[in-house]
């Protein structure tokens, strides 16, 4: 039983860090700031939560602390990414040429 739990925990750890790897790859490959925020925040949030779940399977006595870390990440990480995207838009960051729709700029132009 505990052997099975160990193997599930190890596989969850590897899956979580694989999501971190994909997040880092997206951070390098994406063309502009907003796509980089998208890749760098969502994939890493999922990866860290999977890693914490794997650590909980490996050491069940640490469950409360790991759950607390996961809750903090789940609350603060999307908030910080939204604030950063708004700041990048206001400071005039360059958009990729494939970006065709910008609703925030349309709204600001409508009511100055």
């Amino acid at each position: 039983m505990t052997m099975l739990l160990d193997i599930i925990g190890g596989l969850l750890l590897v899956a979580g860090t694989a999501f971190l790897l994909f997040g880092g790859l997206g951070l390098v490959r994406m063309p502009d700031v907003f796509n980089r925020i998208q890749a760098g925040t969502k994939a890493t949030t999922l990866g860290t939560l999977l890693t914490l779940a794997g650590a909980t399977c490996l050491q069940p006595a640490w469950g409360v602390k790991l759950l607390l870390i996961g809750l903090f990440l789940l609350f603060t990480n999307p908030l910080s990414s939204q604030v950063l995207a708004r700041a990048a838009h206001r400071s005039g960051a360059g958009k990729s040429e494939k970006t065709s729709i910008d609703r925030l700029e349309e709204d600001q132009r409508k009511k100055p």
């Binding site: 979580g16 860090t17 971190l20 700041a87 990048a88």
Partner: protein, 86 residues
């Protein structure tokens, strides 16, 4: 078996760390570097959890708790500066 999986996870986290560091070094604007800083903090949380699993000490997780609050604070401060606040 589990040791081998933990080493594989550490290898993946190290490669992700190097990729985010590449973006931190050559990012054209300041916002790119802030995103890379955030991702580096989150990868450091994963590294701390792996170190705690390797050493077998649960007290190391408190540092990860501080990190989870800290990345939020740093990004908010830099975003306020980029918006022209303060």
């Amino acid at each position: 078996m589990v040791d081998w999986l933990i080493h594989l996870a550490a290898l993946f986290a190290g490669v992700a760390f190097l990729l985010a560091l590449t973006r931190f070094i050559k990012g054209p604007s300041a916002a790119d570097r802030v995103v890379a800083f955030d991702v580096l903090t989150i990868i450091s949380i994963t590294g701390i959890v792996l170190a705690a699993l390797t050493e077998g000490r649960g007290i190391y997780l408190d540092v990860a708790l501080v990190y989870a609050l800290l990345s939020f604070l740093g990004v908010i401060v830099v975003a306020r500066y980029l918006e022209g606040g303060f």
